[in-house]
């Protein structure tokens, strides 16, 4: 089931009412959420559930075995076996389409819940987490519907305690959850939805576009993928807050980063933290010689690339970012910032603005590799930007670019907040009727101004 389907409009209120009718009875609330999550996940094809169920039960079993084993070596062996099983499943289904073809389905969300399972096994082995006693609670931890398809990738020590403790209805949290979901829908349907056709037409007719049109399409793709993915995450987080469960934020204004490493700390945060904790730090992290740090960074980005897919374009995309981040390591150019950009000011300083522009340009250029189907396509696109007349035949996508600029201005003004609709403190929206008028207007815009049904780009990973 998709967050943006008619079915979900019926599903969510039904789950919400039943869930809070069971308030105070955690066990039954979890049973209900588990049933709802399985229904949500198996809506299109029930067979995907078998893989999720098998993966969850294997993880649960290994977790219990690790938990009850005292010998350190045995714990590690159990953990390694469990992790190997998960990696094998992921590789089999994700990278050998043959198996997916034989089974007749592609397992949506497989890489998200596999990473969650691996993190759980490692955390239990390290003694950082303990598995829940009831299998239902663990199955829910794996399958919880707001995050099953595209994340965020949750850790046992943040999600499990919430699933095991009583939940009280929080009015402010629920209202803010609705606003966050509404902002997510706006980002997905309006910003990403309007950018998408321009990007598709540019990629479908590279030779017929002017150089500036291709550059604009490139910028629009950056906004499309950000709004599509972060929009989805906002809907997931908002939905979950309606149920009194906080999921981890996955984005923190990535396009306001002053360096590429900072961008990666703000983009798909839960995935990058996963790689930091379970790959980068075990490899030695940054506390070793520079060449070794460069190697670690390269390994991490190659695995990030492989996580997206085993295509040459993704591998080059990983190498591209590894090279940029390695440059920061080798040159000693500042990559980490302890304070927010333009903290306490409305506008950034000239230096900050330049750094943000350079970072955005580097990231956007890399997106060509992300969007291209083959390396030849990417090369063709880049050479067309360099060789095509600058404006011949006009520039496409200017209206969409203006929409993106307006969107990013709103995000800039609201940059310290969890989402742009946290407007209670804003004087303009102090009165309730004005706030409501804005919410109603945004809802109508989302319904009536949407272009085409939106696919969530990251659900394919």
């Amino acid at each position: 089931m998709s967050f943006v389907s008619i079915e979900y409009l019926v599903f969510l209120p039904a789950v919400f009412v039943l869930y809070w009718a069971l308030a105070g009875r955690v066990r039954w609330q979890n049973v209900l959420l588990l049933a709802a999550s399985y229904l949500f996940y198996a809506w299109g094809d029930w067979r995907v559930l078998l893989l999720l169920l098998a993966s969850s039960l294997v993880t649960w079993g290994f977790g219990l075995a690790i938990d009850t084993t005292v010998a350190r070596r045995a714990r590690r062996l159990l953990c390694a076996t469990g992790v190997a099983l998960h990696v094998a499943t992921l590789v089999t289904f994700k990278y050998f389409s043959f198996f997916a073809d034989v089974c007749g389905f592609s397992a949506v969300g497989l890489s998200f819940y596999t990473f969650q399972a691996i993190a759980y096994l490692v955390d239990v082995t390290r003694g950082k987490s303990r598995g829940p006693r009831r299998v239902v609670d663990f199955l829910l931890f794996m399958a919880y519907f707001p995050k099953i398809v595209s994340g965020p990738i949750e850790r046992a020590d943040t999600l499990l305690p919430q699933l095991l403790s009583p939940r009280r209805f929080d009015y402010a949290g629920a209202v803010d959850g609705c606003r966050q979901a509404l902002w997510g829908l706006f980002k997905t349907f309006i910003v990403a939805g309007y950018c998408s056709p321009v990007v598709d037409s540019a990629w479908g007719n590279i030779d017929g576009m002017s150089a500036l049109s291709l550059v604009v399409a490139c910028v629009l793709f950056s906004f499309e993928i950000y709004c599509n993915f972060s929009g989805y995450i906002d809907i997931a987080l908002g939905t979950s807050r309606l149920l009194g469960i906080e999921l981890s934020p996955n984005f923190r204004n990535p396009y306001f980063s002053r360096s590429v490493p900072e961008f990666w700390r703000r983009w798909h945060i839960t995935l990058m933290l996963w790689f930091r904790d379970y790959l980068y730090i075990p490899l030695g992290g940054s506390r070793c010689r520079k060449w070794r740090v460069v190697l670690n960074v390269t390994v991490v980005f190659m695995v990030v690339a492989l996580w997206h897919g085993a295509d040459a374009t993704f591998l080059l995309y990983g190498l591209y970012h590894a090279a940029i981040c390695s440059f920061y390591v080798v040159s000693g150019v500042r990559a980490k910032y302890s304070s927010e950009v333009a903290a306490g000011r409305v506008l950034p300083s000239l230096r900050e603005a330049c750094l943000m522009l350079v970072t955005f340009s580097l990231v956007t250029f890399g997106r060509i590799l992300f969007r291209a189907e083959t390396l030849a396509d990417a090369g063709h696109y880049v050479s067309a930007i360099a060789t095509r007349p600058l404006t011949a035949g006009g520039i496409v996508g200017l209206k969409e670019l203006a929409l993106c600029m307006a969107f990013i201005a709103v995000e800039w003004l609201q940059r310290g907040k969890a989402h742009a609709l946290q407007i209670d403190e804003c004087r303009l929206f102090a009165s309730r009727p004005v706030r409501w008028a804005l919410y109603v207007a945004l809802t109508l815009i989302v319904i009536l101004a949407q272009q085409a049904p939106q696919e969530f780009i990251y659900s394919q990973f």
């Binding site: 209805f169 209202v175 609705c178 409501w436 109508l444 009536l448 101004a449 085409a452």
Partner: protein, 309 residues
């Protein structure tokens, strides 16, 4: 909790009220379905000829040239199933009905039911709402314009604009032929070539399963006409040469076989103009498979001369 549910219900009620207002605006806007229903309700008693079919006859047959009591009941993507529906609904009210022009072309007998076509699904809603077609219930997804969101969004702003200006008009002329502002223009050969490839690609049949389904509806039309002693003219409208060339041979052969069999079974006049390049030159086309006003005049005059007035 109670406060949240109350506020949420109020918010949802506001949104729903505004959406219903938008639905009313779109429904208020004139369209060819509404116009044809109203015209037939008023004038059915004097109608002697009805034109059925999809956009090829909707654009291409000028009922004013067929005699003084003809009306064009064709509409975009109106396949035999809905041809039969409009014939039954309006034909029953036409005591003087003598002739029905049925179209068999490279599209209408190959397409699946419009409910299965993404771009045409909203037309089933139009038949439900404006012609009272009972194929779908009022409570189904075809019971409101709003339920076909993409089409609804496309219609909303023009409907609102026309409502405010007070200049709204249906897309057809008084006798039901497509009559938008650009319906008389002639296009360049280059544009015809371009649209020919696109249209042929769109109309190329890869799945012949729906032919039997559409033929069954053609037979229903034939049986209805036979029962009432109504003459049938089976028309295959002209199409631009490049378009024809890119329609597969099997599809063209099937189209001709179906038309011939139907004409034989119901003793109908067969008017096949699919290859009539000498009569329908480039200046007769609005695009590769639709005639403009000039083309419609020629086709209508040919129909009269070949099948009698």
């Amino acid at each position: 909790m109670k406060r949240f549910v109350t506020y949420f219900a109020m918010f949802a009620a506001m949104v729903v009220a505004l959406l219903l207002a938008a639905e009313a605006v779109v429904r208020h806007h004139p369209n060819s379905y509404k116009y044809k229903d109203a015209w037939m309700t008023r004038n059915a008693e004097r109608v002697s000829t009805l034109v059925l079919g999809g956009s090829h006859s909707y654009y291409g047959v000028d009922a004013s040239l067929l005699g003084d009591s003809a009306f064009n009941l064709a509409n975009v993507s109106q396949h035999p199933e809905y041809d039969y529906f409009v014939l039954r609904r309006y034909g029953d009210r036409c005591p003087r009905l003598r002739r029905v022009i049925v179209v068999v072309d490279a599209v209408n007998i190959f397409d699946p039911p419009i409910e299965q076509l993404d771009g045409d699904r909203a037309r089933a809603t139009a038949y439900r709402l404006y012609m009272d077609c009972d194929k779908h219930s009022r409570c189904s997804r075809y019971g409101m314009e709003l339920f076909n969101l993409r089409e609804f969004n496309r219609k909303l702003l023009p409907s609102l604009r026309h409502l405010l200006r007070g200049d709204a008009q249906a897309d057809c002329d008084t006798l039901g032929r497509f009559n938008r502002h650009d319906s008389s223009r002639a296009v360049s050969v280059a544009e015809l070539e371009r649209t020919a490839l696109k249209a042929a690609e769109r109309h190329r049949c890869t799945d012949y399963r729906h032919v039997a389904y559409n033929c069954a509806w053609l037979d229903s039309i034939g049986d209805y006409c036979r029962r009432r002693g109504i003459d049938i003219v089976v028309l295959t409208p002209p199409a631009y040469s490049t378009y024809r060339k890119h329609i597969p041979q099997r599809q063209r052969d099937t189209m001709r076989a179906v038309a011939a069999k139907f004409a034989r079974s119901y003793h109908a006049h067969r008017v096949d103009l699919f290859d009539a390049d000498s009569t329908f030159t480039a200046e007769c086309y609005l695009d590769a498979d639709h005639l403009n006003r000039e083309g419609a005049s020629r086709l209508s005059n040919l129909l009269v001369s070949k099948a009698g007035q």
